[in-house]
Symmetry: C2
Subunit: 147 residues, 2 copies
DNA sequence: TCCTTATTGATAATAATTATCATTATCAGT
DNA sequence: ACTGATAATGATAATTATTATCAATAAGGA
């Protein structure tokens, strides 16, 4: 049976932990499982709440420690959302743009290969800034919530 | 003498408070003054710290209350920043994009009249989402920090 | 299986935000 | 300008979120 996208991510994350000398512990696995299973960006507290549904769950401190580690490894990032603050979301290759449903929070990642270099050049000329990165997020309603 | 941009903003903010039945008090004036004078997006705590430099300063609770009011009136918004969370920034007419210096935090507002509607249409077709808003922020180095 | 030590859980400490309530000050109506 | 109704404040308690501490535990190489 083909490994699912989620399984491939989880497996690559475990490899990354090993490569960097981090142990793959039960609490860490639980946090990674929750993050990669979610269709919405979750806050640390939301991740903790979800973990409570399991038989054995991590302490809140381990949630924060795991998130800190995953972020340092570049495996997750904070996505900023309207009317609140950031939720955790996996990092993918290349530059990405994000699409968020206002109703259900469902997130979609879009490969950010759209050409806005012309726009960036004009901004640099106008302002004297040197631009090296950008965030582009779209908000709207997903097909499920449109019904 | 011509009123400065800042004075015009402050005056329109005071009008807005009056129109909505809010009183223009000293603590509120101090908070509005600090926000409109800043070249960087400030957190509530940073605004409080700046207010402490004045002879008479607001209690921390009034800072939060004022920010809540200004946000409800649509006069300010939260700008999300890399490696931290949001800072407060005035809202301007129309759709805007933001340019933030990583070094000094200096912000520039760009009229977001650049045409990305084609991009949005393609995203809607690909994903089935209906997109009604977007955030676009650029990060880089301002001309002062480039020297 | 054993041993080293990274990691955990429990909890204390810190920081940020919100709620409470008696006192103060804005401003509409004289 | 004065006055009164009450919105707003300041002080602080309560709540919530995050970080630090440290003895006990468990991952994973030998």
């Amino acid at each position: 049976m083909e490994p699912s996208t989620k399984d491939r991510i989880l497996s690559s994350w475990q490899d990354s932990l090993h490569r960097h000398g981090f142990r793959v512990t039960r609490p860490r696995q639980q946090v990674m499982e929750i993050i990669t299973s979610s269709t919405t960006a979750l806050t640390p507290q939301e991740i903790y709440q979800k973990s409570l549904e399991e038989e054995k769950f991590p302490g809140i401190a381990s949630i924060y420690r795991t998130l800190e580690m995953l972020e340092k490894l570049g495996l997750i990032q904070q996505i900023h959302q309207p009317g609140g603050c950031h939720g955790i979301w996996p990092t993918f290759e290349g530059h990405n743009h994000y699409l968020i449903c206002r109703d259900c929070g469902q997130m979609k990642v879009i490969e950010g290969n759209e050409d806005i270099t012309g726009y960036i050049s004009r901004i640099e000329d106008q302002t004297g800034y040197r631009v090296d990165d950008h965030w582009l997020q779209f908000f709207g309603t997903c097909s499920d919530c449109l019904d």
